[in-house]
């Protein structure tokens, strides 16, 4: 009965859902095909068509079923897997190895990712130099494109970037969905401040050593992208750290807690995105009149962004990544997408539609390239 009430609040009829999907359909068609679909290469055409259909079907289902996180997560996880596949595939083609050598560093051939951004700030301010050995304008994953993409997404979505734009988040999001019940139910709330401590440390160490220390020493995603060639005790230690952190924070703990532990307890960019939640126009709101304080939202939140006290006070903390898991879990439609300045409980559907359009469009365009490339790779492997 209550679920029916909730679904009636956000789900739409077939016709309305198709109508809402139409703008996404047209824009993604333009971005994915460049406006001129090329059917000369069958494997490329199938990959493009599959990616195009995938994003639009998922977007349609979000409107048709009224569920957000369920379909967001599908694309988010595929994005993470395909990005890693594409990157590794590219590394193997170019270097015959996932590891990079000192020569690659000197020639600035290391692909740039958004996690480097916090470390670049202080050296860029004080020495006007970029401390990452990547290309500024050329090649795939160049520095300027990534910074612009991240900046725009963060200003609009706030920490929503962590659930709608980050191409690593899908890893621990995916693993957090294994199993029915969490093995570890309670983790002290002070740990959610850890990303700020990591941010402080990596910013300082990067500024003092003029090296991207997080990438060199900590980043767990080195395990699924590229890493330094193991040639010494130091590089072996680094590889050990990457693998242990990946195994612990991206695989084991998400399975045991059913939470995104890497994003919650380590990521320094997540700390910056958390602060950006203060200025973004979109937010999750709690309609106190509709809330029956069942606290299902607190249990389901993958980033420890909600506490029982928050719900009682009717506010959502700045740690929220707007993934929509709490919105899906709420049987009363009390927790909902909202717009800053608009009172909670009002314009629920309008806010959701607007947020979904912006955030999903960003994810669809951002992920399309790597999804197409990985589909093509898979097709080549199969046939």
């Amino acid at each position: 009965m209550v679920n029916d009430l909730k679904i009636a609040g956000t789900r739409k009829s077939l016709g309305k859902s198709l109508l809402y999907t139409l703008p996404m359909f047209l824009i993604t068609f333009l971005f994915i095909t460049g406006g001129r679909p090329n059917f000369s290469d069958p494997s490329s055409a199938i990959a493009v068509l599959t990616a195009f259909l995938l994003v639009n079907v998922l977007y349609f289902l979000m409107h048709f079923t009224g569920k957000t996180d369920r379909y967001r997560a599908v694309l988010f996880i595929i994005f993470a897997l395909s990005l890693s596949y594409t990157l590794i595939h590219n590394m193997l083609e170019v270097r015959n190895s996932m590891s990079f050598s000192q020569a690659d560093i000197l020639e600035c051939k290391i692909p740039f990712c958004h996690l480097v951004i916090p470390m670049m700030i202080l050296p860029a301010v004080f020495t006007k130099s970029i401390i990452f050995p990547g290309s500024i304008l050329n090649g795939f994953a160049n520095i300027s494109t990534m910074i612009v993409l991240w900046l725009v997404a963060t200003l609009v979505l706030g920490r929503g970037f962590c659930s709608w734009g980050c191409f690593y988040g899908g890893w621990d999001d995916g693993f957090s969905r294994f199993g029915k019940k969490p093995l570890i139910k309670r983790i002290d709330g002070l740990w959610k401040w850890m990303p700020f401590a990591v941010l402080m440390m990596v910013m300082l160490t990067a500024a003092l050593s003029m090296m991207p220390t997080y990438c060199s020493w900590i980043c767990p995603f080195k395990a699924v992208t590229e890493f330094e060639q193991v040639t010494s005790v130091e590089s072996a230690t680094k590889a050990g750290i990457f693998l242990s952190l990946f195994g612990g924070l991206v695989i084991a703990l998400p399975i045991m807690t059913k939470k995104r532990t890497q994003c919650s307890f380590l990521c320094p960019l997540g700390a910056i995105n958390t602060l950006s939640n203060k200025i973004t126009p979109f937010m999750i709101k709690i309609d106190k009149n509709a809330c029956n304080e069942c606290f299902k939202c607190v249990e389901t939140c993958p980033l420890y962004a909600l506490t029982r006290d928050d719900i009682k006070e009717g506010k959502v903390s700045m740690f929220c990544s707007k993934c929509g898991k709490c919105v899906d879990a709420c049987s009363k439609n009390a927790i909902h997408y909202g717009i800053k300045g608009v009172p909670a409980g009002t314009l629920k559907n309008f806010s959701r539609n607007l947020f979904l359009f912006v955030s999903f469009l960003f994810m669809a365009i951002f992920s399309a390239g790597s999804i197409i490339a990985s589909f093509q790779g898979l097709l080549k492997l199969i046939f």
Binding site: A197, L204, W217, E234
Partner: protein, 207 residues
């Protein structure tokens, strides 16, 4: 030098979190404006500097006597780094850790002119895992100058946090800053643990 500065910066934040609020009333008690506060703070920092200078000298000579063998020079500090780093990490993650500040013992002193010096002395000699780590580093350095540089970096890193001490009362969300500072100290411990492991493995391989 970088790791000493990082250790100072991170442990300084935790030190301020635990000791700052205790020292603040003593440094400020009976003070007559910014000039008095500046003098008291300078005396406090100068005392710490002098103590660290002596500790750098003692640690280095001690290290020379103990770590004469090049393999031992890697292995023993490696083990000490790991032990003290574990203590530092444990301190930062243990909710029930003793957050009492050693400077509380100067409560009984009534002479206000002597207070900043006494506070500096007790604060710099308050044996915490971070100080043990820097002592180990000073002992393992190749030259006395390197030991001085390590302690200087540690002193600068930890002192930065005390400079805005007079403004501490105005800082909002002190609990959050305290939590972040203490977690950062734990991370500094992890850095030294890795350094210790690398030293130890390197020493064992070379040995």
């Amino acid at each position: 030098m970088t790791d000493s500065l990082i250790l100072g910066l991170s442990s300084g934040s935790a030190c301020l979190a635990t000791c700052g609020m205790v020292m603040f009333p003593y440094l400020m008690a009976g003070s007559a404006g910014v000039r008095r506060i500046a003098i008291d703070l300078s005396l406090f920092l100068l005392t710490r500097f002098v103590v660290y200078f002596f500790l750098a000298t003692i640690a280095w000579y001690f290290g020379q006597a103990l770590f004469s063998n090049p393999v031992v020079r890697n292995i023993v500090p490696g083990i000490l780094y790991i032990v003290f780093a574990i203590m530092l990490v444990r301190y930062s993650i243990s909710k029930n850790s003793n957050r009492d500040c050693p400077v509380k013992i100067v409560k009984t002193v009534n002479n206000h002119k002597l207070l900043p010096i006494l506070l500096g002395l007790v604060n710099s000699l308050g044996f915490c895992p971070a100080l043990f780590l820097i002592l180990t580093k000073g002992a393992a350095e190749k030259t006395l100058v390197h030991s001085y540089i390590a302690f200087l970096a540690f002193f600068i890193g930890s002192s930065i946090w005390f400079i805005p001490l007079p403004l501490a009362g105005k800082i909002r969300k002190k609990e959050v800053l305290t939590t972040i500072g203490i977690l950062a100290t734990g991370l500094a411990g992890v850095i030294f643990m890795i350094k210790g492991l690398t030293n130890l493995i390197g020493g064992l391989i070379n040995g």
